[in-house]
């Protein structure tokens, strides 16, 4: 039997939601019929609006999908202005203030406390400036990710940016691909560093060379190496069922990417499970069919040319989130192809106050081209900075806070939304990760040759913070401490991407949150004492069994204090003075 969600989608979905959304915005939140709220909130996701959690009725998270994390000159300013004007609500965050933007692990932007009545004005401003929330959530093509510095990166094999732009134009708003069984996450990477993180997406295009007759538009029938993409399908981290995307033995030249991507998206549309949303992601279809059957079905039913077999990839060069080697992230100053530089700045847990967003937009204008890009580690990158402007840019006061040379614990922090706004969450996340990072920076020393250490905190198993690919993975749980229920974290170790990706092993369960910094400190102490010369943390974890690792973790109370030990989900907003559900604000009045 199709689910309620499928029934709603078959009635109204995709582009047509917009008119109704605007009608509701016009007539006020209360104009949504009482018995249609679930249906409309589900549909609004397709237009990037996600109802915030219980206690925050009538307020929405708005996600702006920025393909490949690219914000063209002027667009960051628009985001800052929209945040400043519309993303203020009844809750004030003690660390980040009353208005901010979140940069996400899929190179998008999230604003909170958005009211329905403001949506038409926000959409108008976004669209005038080439931005959109279309398909940012919901069951369809999501924001396409990749190496954020595509087209500029000195280490690039092939420029993926035109490919991504083309896919985005074709599949955003395409009615044939608007209603899929579940979200469809695509990654296209052209660089050799693996920074598109294809392995954890539903569909991945990764750079590869292929000897093809005639070559790249060449003249003879000489065989020569063409540059294109290998294809993998069925990655994803959620629901305790992490999967790496599987190699389906296909190589495509850049001009065929839309055919193959569209073919696979149609295959998912037609064969994905619409009866059980928990089994709907394409990763489960790949489990069931195997990679060979995916390839055969694609060939027979969805493309009208002969697929090439996989080419020679560059996976052995992957470093991004690899847990060892150079360039695990894109922080710092790096060469661009054109002789200028891109500068990756650390945004702790991806959250930036609206004033800072506006100031950064100014700096990008002043020192670069005005363009800014977002990475999958929730950081920003200012591109096109000439050598001559570099020193002055790096001396800007804003960069003290958003550093190009952050401490490893600041640099390595990634955190999801958590109980502040998210329905699925078990624990508080972003502010907690900030507190952890600050404490670790003040109290813990890594071995001198280790300058990156990634700690990712997710509030539940949906894994929005990608915990399974960090050195230390933290995931929301509960436990009892002295009999009282408290927020807790499961601790996983040794995850990372790279040539041979590995998900973290969950070695220690249910550590009360106030003992987690002590646990990490003890772990790092054992690592420093027992590692082999030059050994990476990931390699260190790999040569120990779970029991040994559990012993290294060793939870302990320290002078770290956690003000959010209680059930933060039972509050209407964890940081409110009067935080109980009874004190929740009324749904925003229409204005």
């Amino acid at each position: 039997m199709p689910t309620d969600v499928e029934n709603w989608k078959s009635e109204v979905y995709g582009n047509e939601i917009r008119d109704r959304l605007f009608e509701f915005a016009e007539a006020g939140f209360d104009s949504i019929p009482d018995d249609e709220r679930d249906a409309w909130f589900e549909r609004f996701k397709w237009w990037g609006l996600y109802h915030q959690r219980n206690g925050q009725e009538g307020y929405f998270m708005m996600r702006i999908g920025t393909p490949n994390g690219v914000l063209e000159p002027g667009q960051l300013r628009v985001v800052g202005e929209i945040a400043d004007e519309y993303a203020r609500g009844p809750g004030v965050n003690p660390i980040f203030g009353d208005v901010y933007a979140d940069f996400t692990t899929r190179q998008s932007i999230q604003l909170h406390w958005i009211e329905l009545s403001d949506v038409p004005a926000i959409f108008e401003k976004l669209e005038e400036n080439g931005l959109s929330t279309q398909q940012a959530c919901g069951d369809s093509w999501r924001n396409i990710v990749g190496n954020p510095v595509a087209g500029k990166d000195g280490q690039e094999v092939i420029d993926a940016w035109p490919v991504i732009r083309d896919l985005n134009e074709r599949f955003k708003g395409d009615d044939d691909h608007a209603n899929l069984p579940r979200k469809w996450k695509v990654s296209v990477t052209g660089s050799a560093d693996g920074s598109g993180q294809g392995d954890i997406n539903d569909l991945a295009f990764e750079p590869a060379y292929k000897a093809v007759t005639g070559g790249n538009g060449g003249d003879g029938d000489e065989s020569e190496d063409a540059v294109g993409f290998n294809v993998r399908v069925g990655g994803g981290l959620s629901r305790n069922e992490p999967r790496l995307a599987r190699d389906i033995d296909v190589w495509v030249p850049p001009e065929r990417v839309p055919d193959v991507a569209g073919g696979l998206s149609a295959l998912f549309r037609d064969y994905g499970d619409r009866e059980d949303r928990y089994n709907a992601r394409v990763k489960f279809l790949v489990d069931e069919w195997g990679a060979d059957e995916v390839r055969e079905t694609l060939q027979e039913e969805y493309v009208d040319f002969e697929l090439e077999s996989a080419g020679r990839d560059v996976r052995e060069e992957y470093t991004y989130n690899a847990g060892e080697g150079e360039r695990n992230d894109l922080i710092g100053v790096h060469d661009q192809k054109d002789g200028t530089n891109f500068v990756g700045l650390n945004v702790l847990v991806g959250r930036m106050g609206a004033d800072d967003v506006l100031e950064l937009a100014d700096l990008a204008d002043e020192y670069g081209s005005g363009e800014v890009r977002l990475s999958q580690r929730q950081n920003v990158i200012v591109t096109d900075v000439p050598d001559a402007a570099l020193d002055e840019f790096l001396d800007e006061p804003l960069l003290e806070h958003y550093s190009s040379e952050p401490s490893p614990f600041m640099r390595g922090s990634v955190a999801c939304t958590g109980t502040e706004f998210c329905s699925l969450s078990i624990v508080e996340t972003k502010n907690r990760q900030v507190r952890f990072a600050r404490w670790l920076k003040a109290n813990v020393d890594l071995p001198a040759d280790v300058d990156e250490f990634h700690i990712h905190l997710s509030g539940c198993t949906a894994s929005c913070a990608q915990p399974q690919i960090a050195d230390v993975s933290l995931r929301g749980m509960k436990t009892r401490k002295d009999g009282d229920p408290v927020e807790a974290l499961d601790v996983g170790l040794g995850g990372g991407l790279g040539e041979n990706p590995q998900f973290a092993r969950w070695v220690t369960q249910r550590v009360p949150v106030d003992e987690v910094p002590g646990a990490i400190a003890n772990l790092i102490e054992s690592f420093a004492a027992e590692r082999e010369e030059g050994e990476s943390f990931r390699a260190f974890v790999a040569r120990h069994d779970d029991e040994e690792l559990d012993a290294f973790v060793d939870p302990e109370e320290t002078d770290y204090e956690d003000p959010m030990m209680h059930n933060t989900k039972r509050t209407w907003y964890p940081y409110a003075e009067e935080d109980s559900m009874e004190d929740a604000p009324l749904t925003p009045a229409d204005d």
Binding site: D4, V5, D34, D35, E36, R37, D38, E42, R53, N54, R239, R277, Y278, T419, S423, L424, S425, I426, V427, C460, T461, A462, G476, M477, K478, T479, R480, P485, A488, Q509, R510, N567, K569
Partner: protein
Amino acid sequence: MTTRLRVLDDGAWISVNDDRKVRVSELWRLDAPDLCECALTDLVVENFQSVGADGSTVEVQVYGQCIACGEKGTTGWIPVGRVRGGEFAELDRSAVRRVRR
């Protein structure tokens, strides 16, 4: 009058008549010998799997973990509240809940 019962947002909550009524992240005391060997399961509710009604009683199946012993799994049908005159009343959260047999 029929009551509309749904699991929404990936199992984050139970909707009763288009209103969010029961949420994940709660701790429930359960008499659920099928799930774990503890005398009482101390279950952290992570995901609702399904919702139904037995007369006026609203029941759910949830995925979660017993924080006393670490056992994980999906429960049988557990009552969470009653619908009377179209209004949902949640059962006392601190009371022991019994899996229907």
